[in-house]
Amino acid sequence: MRTVVCLSIVILAGTGGDLLSAHAMKQSARLEVTGGSAVAMLLQGGFRLSAMWAGLVLQALAFFTLLALLSWADVSFVVPATALNYVVGAAGSVLFFREQVDRTRWAGVLLVCLGVAFIFASER
């Protein structure tokens, strides 16, 4: 049970953190920041946004939860199981962003689900 809970935190917090950081970096491209190189300006702008900090907090949560998970679970189980983030990403893009996901992508998502089911079956 704790494995499922921790894995869910790793996947949801990791994906959420990525989304928030990406959102912040896109927003920062629209901000006016003076001085420095283009990349430094982009990062400077990004760190002025609360979404970037929220993203970092979520990514830190995902990292520490992953460390805890690795303290008892096999790495050959944990890493493949985190591939569920592709499922969360596809579902999130449909549910929250109303994006269109084509059949090839859904076929890929189904294969990942099947693969993770085998991974979980191997743990029992």
Binding site: V75, S76, V112, C113, G115
Partner: protein
């Protein structure tokens, strides 16, 4: 990256290095955490002490350093190849981690787990082959 422009040998090598760094970094973290022992979320001070023990281990810091190098390699790769190429190519990392877990950490990787890993690699490859699309 268009189809007529194939990635150079240097880019292939960098991709291989990135996959190896990702797998190696995660393996180091796993090896370090196995020495710390199972972290039970009984009380907050106990969890903090367990993480304190974890960060006293050299494998954890080596793992973090390796993953930082992987991140830098990934940034360089993103400037050279499309994400849709990077994603399926790096899916082999799932198999590499399992192989290293078996060979280095002595983990038991059953047939079911290997089948699962093959399915995941195939699924990620399919997802990566999907052309990017916007609704705007």
């Amino acid at each position: 990256m268009n189809d007529s422009k194939k990635p150079s040998l240097g880019t292939f090598l960098l991709l291989a290095v990135a996959v190896a760094l990702d797998a190696g970094g995660t393996l180091l973290l796993s090896g370090g955490m196995k020495h710390v022992g199972s972290i039970e979320a009984a009380t907050s001070p106990a969890v903090v002490r367990a993480f304190g023990r974890a960060f006293a281990r050299v494998e954890i810091w080596l793992g973090i350093a390796t993953l930082i190098m992987w991140f830098i390699c990934s940034l360089v790769l993103f400037s050279r190849i499309d994400f849709s190429y990077f994603q399926p190519a790096s899916a082999i990392g799932y198999a590499l981690v399992a192989l290293l877990g078996y060979a280095v950490l002595g983990e038991t990787v059953t047939a079911a787990r290997w089948i699962g890993i093959v399915c995941i690699c195939a699924g990620v490859t399919l997802i990566g082959r999907t052309p990017p699309r916007t609704t705007a």
